[in-house]
Symmetry: C2
Amino acid sequence: MLPNPYDHIPSSALRPISGAVGDTVFHQGDPTHGLYVVQTGRVHLERVGPDGERFIIHRAQAGTSFAEASVFSEVYHCDAVIVEAGALIRIDKAFVLAAFADPAFARAYGRQAAQQIQAQRQMLEIVGIRRAEDRVMAGLIAGLLEGSIVEFAARLQLSHEATYRALRKLVQDGRVMNPSRGIYHLHP
Amino acid sequence: MLPNPYDHIPSSALRPISGAVGDTVFHQGDPTHGLYVVQTGRVHLERVGPDGERFIIHRAQAGTSFAEASVFSEVYHCDAVIVEAGALIRIDKAFVLAAFADPAFARAYGRQAAQQIQAQRQMLEIVGIRRAEDRVMAGLIAGLLEGSIVEFAARLQLSHEATYRALRKLVQDGRVMNPSRGIYHLHP
DNA sequence: GGCAACATATGATTGAAATCATATTACGAT
DNA sequence: ATCGTAATATGATTTCAATCATATGTTGCC
């Protein structure tokens, strides 16, 4: 149910929270209570610029956690705004900090964090590729095409049209197989 | 000297390694020995596609570590190629795993990892912004402009020309201050 | 001081991806 | 069965960032 490491956290530390669209879970500058796991719905983390301009620093999907770093800081550094109604769970920071004394939790946390860092680095490299064709190819090699082409395109930060065109080109050049409509993959 | 958490690792676990350009530190599929810290030089992590096409999943700079996730896996999932001669330190995985039993190490690791994840998420959001002007503004709000505009542009995955133009536009629109040549910042 | 190298800056041109438009196909609901 | 919605697919047009070109300012070096 919860992402891996937090299985080690006692259920007394889990605070269920429900929110409607537009609700702010916490504000920039608020004292930190802990991190959050999104069960359903979507949450945006926004930083507010000096002139009140908001920009999104993260979009948290159902099944993911956010504000993990708040466990180690005194105040939140952004706003958390609910953009799709749903249910959250807050995990109190004191419990997480205490859990680090348990080597099993610590290793589970370390593993999960290291893998996430690696995956994000790869994403940064991929979205840094300018040519749509190269980016799509890199995305395929990285195994990012699970589900629809539309989702794949969104992950690659490309329009789906550009993604379709790149895929067609790659198929024409024999670098990608297209055994049937909507199915694309590398050779063997 | 070393990034924060690894201060807790005994020096007997630190293996100095020197390499010349083109040397491969490890290959995809090799059994893992541990993670690496780049003291000087640069290292590319490359994944090899099915048709032998290589694509870079990370560029490790001096002062950063790489292959952290190898501590938790049996084999390396990419090649590490030295692209600029320098010195590395390998930290044996067994010592890192053992160190997780020390809550101080575990928390230091957790803090560092959580902050890195947050920073990378923010970078992913920023480089996902299409309009150069908006991207530059987001970069300014995020405090990414330290050092030269050229470095700033590289971080934003923009050409420096586009970055200069966006900065000029932002100054013209009164959103950014340009007190002197080469100096740009937000209002107060 | 003069030179080399680089950062800053901006104009002109080009190219590639976004956008707009339009079919076709697939799939679930009624 | 047919209606509606979303994914797949591709063509036409537009936009905007990359690229090329060029100039000035700044810094360190001999």
